[in-house]
Amino acid sequence: MFSEQSSSATPGLSDNGSAVSDKYGAGPPPLTDTDLLEMYRTMVLSRKLDQRIWQMNRQGRAAIVASAQGHEAAQVGAIRALDPERDRFYIYYRELTTMLALGVTPLELLLGFLAKEGEPLSGARQFPLHGAIDRDRRDIVSFSNVVATQLPQAVGVALADKMRGEKRVTVAYFGDGASSMGETHEAMNFASIHRLPVIFFCENNKYAISVPISQQMNIESIATRASAYGMPGIEVNGFDPVAVYEAVGAAANLALSGQGPTLVEAVVERFLPHTSDDDDTRYRPPEDLEGIRDLDPIPATEKILRASGTLDDALDEEIKSLAQKIVNQATEDAENAPFPEPQDFYEQVYAPGSPGDQS
């Protein structure tokens, strides 16, 4: 088995039909300009929503926020290569763009940040972006705030699918921090033994809260660990949505054709602190923070779309103002929503009607 670095030379996009697909068998179909435009729309919406949520935290309205800024291209690229109605998504807490790309609405997400009634993931019981979406053929599960717990669970879901002969991929999302957990090792080992249809998707933003990657591991690439489990490892530039699309697409094909799990490492940057509760200037040296915004995948994608003639000033303005309008409306609706009823507190500790049920 092997590990391969795949990142395009420019901060823009790699060529369709890249080396990744060639190396790992059939890749996903090439992306069209229209596909990329749609991905751009999702990234723009995610960024505007993310900025709004951060702002609401600073105003004391949202208790805690883990921002996805800097991760958008990786997240939108991965979902593009998957099937939201077929596959299963065991995400972690920095997945705002993933949620939007899977069809969760800005209002639903804001209801989560404000912990309001009708919040669909957990009934306002959990951290924002935690809980589950089990509807509209969507299968999203997110209980990752003890990091890496979602990995063995994702493996178990894939085991169930394999036992029942169902063709679907389970994607286990995690960060570089979670890669140090024992459960990550155990899950990868278990998945590879049984050649389970899993993609281990690591968004490496090089910081575990305040601890830099150099103090987390003595290797250059997390993807190289895949060889220890007998599975492919692919490192991609996580600022390049097309490169991520191709890597995840190749991994999905391996999973669906019974060839087992793949570790995909998308290297990104965390533009903001770990969460709204910390100040990254206390632990990130200025030279580390300088310049990372130059790599911002959203203007980079915009540039590619303009160069191909897919995007002009008018369309770009339309996309951005529509995104802002959606975020503004969702903010208003979320703020007007009531808090949960006290009775909710007691419900769903046990199955309704089961001894021990207090509802």
Binding site: R88, Y90, E119, P120, L121, S122, G123, A124, R125, Q126, H130, G131, A132, I133, D134, R135, V141, F143, V146, T149, L151, P152, Q153, A154, V155, G156, V157, A158, L159, A160, D161, M163, G182, E183, E186, A187, N189, F190, I193, E347, Q348, V349, Y350, A351, P352, S354, P355, G356
Partner: protein, 325 residues
């Protein structure tokens, strides 16, 4: 009725569940060709195949976590741990995940998983293999904790546990595997959360569970020789906890002793004693008597190990000390 061992009862329960529901499968360390550490899964690999009787690596967090995932995905995994002591390395998946996924998903997901494990001391497995963490798990909302004492209860409760839509910790006291008892030949279920009066009496209520019931039944025999009529209440599950049956008995007899074979401090017996005292003090002739294991790790040496495990004489002495009977 047929007389079988506790071990055979568990094995029959697993067979019946595997036959009844294609979603049921077993997973754990050495449960295949090795037959399981206590031979509970003997012969099941041959009958049901490696898909439904799955050997795992020594990787508790992975296979308990995978059990959680498979349960969420609609299967009914029965996961075997080689020792309840080893559940600690998977306790994040048990306490933070399995117990709370229903609640944390607002009721969208459920975890119908059974976690079976041998538990307790007395078989010379020393400090790290002789612990009873079902006592700890009993304080976790979202879990059910089942603690059978007889083959009849083991079989019936195992069937109920596998059909339950909540995660169940199924504690099998290792001293019980070879004990014998009658079970019906037809399929049956014992409901979780219903205590059982194992012996009726009028002078004192002896409350316990799992292997503690063996000790209490022997103590009741002994007490009968001196004219004391003891009632033995078997909790059968620590969560949900059937205090009503306990209270009803205590208010009838006016005396109570709680036997907890595990560590005394903050042990589950303390919860039972406190609840009896709180609810029934007007009916009691004295304080609630307590017998428990000692607050020590379990040593390997047999004579030393036995010093920490409650004996019949401890129960008799404690009753005499507390109530003068």
């Amino acid at each position: 009725m047929t007389e079988i061992t506790f071990r055979q009862a568990l094995q029959r329960g697993l067979r019946e569940a595997l036959d009844a529901d294609p979603n049921v499968f077993l997973m754990g360390e050495d449960i295949g060709k090795y037959d399981g550490a206590y031979a509970v899964t003997q012969g099941l690999l041959e009958k049901y195949g490696p898909d439904r009787v799955r050997d795992t690596p020594i990787s508790e967090a992975a296979f308990v976590g995978a059990g959680v995932g498979a349960a969420v995905a609609g299967l009914r995994p029965v996961v075997e741990l080689m020792s309840m002591s080893f559940s600690l390395v998977a306790s994040d998946q048990i306490v933070n995940m399995a117990a709370k996924i229903r609640y944390m998903s607002g009721g969208q997901l459920k975890v119908p998983m059974v976690l079976r494990a041998p538990t307790g001391g007395g078989v010379q497995l020393a400090a790290t293999h002789s612990q009873s963490f079902e006592n700890w798990y009993a304080s976790v909302p979202g879990l059910k904790v089942v603690t059978p004492s007889t083959p009849y209860d083991a079989l019936g409760l195992l069937r109920s546990s596998i059909e339950d839509d909540n995660p169940v910790i199924f504690a099998e006291n290792a001293l019980l595997y070879a004990t014998r008892g009658d079970v019906p030949d037809a399929e049956y279920f014992v409901p979780i959360g219903v205590a059982d009066v194992k012996r009726t009496g009028t002078d004192i209520t002896l409350v316990g569970w799992a292997h503690g019931i063996v000790t209490l039944m022997a103590a009741a025999e002994k007490l009968a020789e001196t004219g004391v009529s003891a009632e033995v209440v078997d909790l059968r599950s620590l969560r949900p906890l059937d205090m009503e049956t306990v209270i009803e008995s205590v208010e009838k007899t006016g005396r109570a002793l709680v036997l907890d074979e595990n560590w005394r401090t903050a042990g589950f017996g303390a919860e039972i004693a406190a609840e009896i005292g709180y609810r029934s003090s007007d009916y009691l002739d004295g304080p609630v008597a307590r017998v428990s294991g000692t607050d020590t790790p379990s040593p390997y040496s047999r004579p030393l190990e036995q010093l920490g495990i409650p004996q019949v004489a401890w129960v008799i002495d404690e009753i005499e000390k507390t109530y003068g009977i």
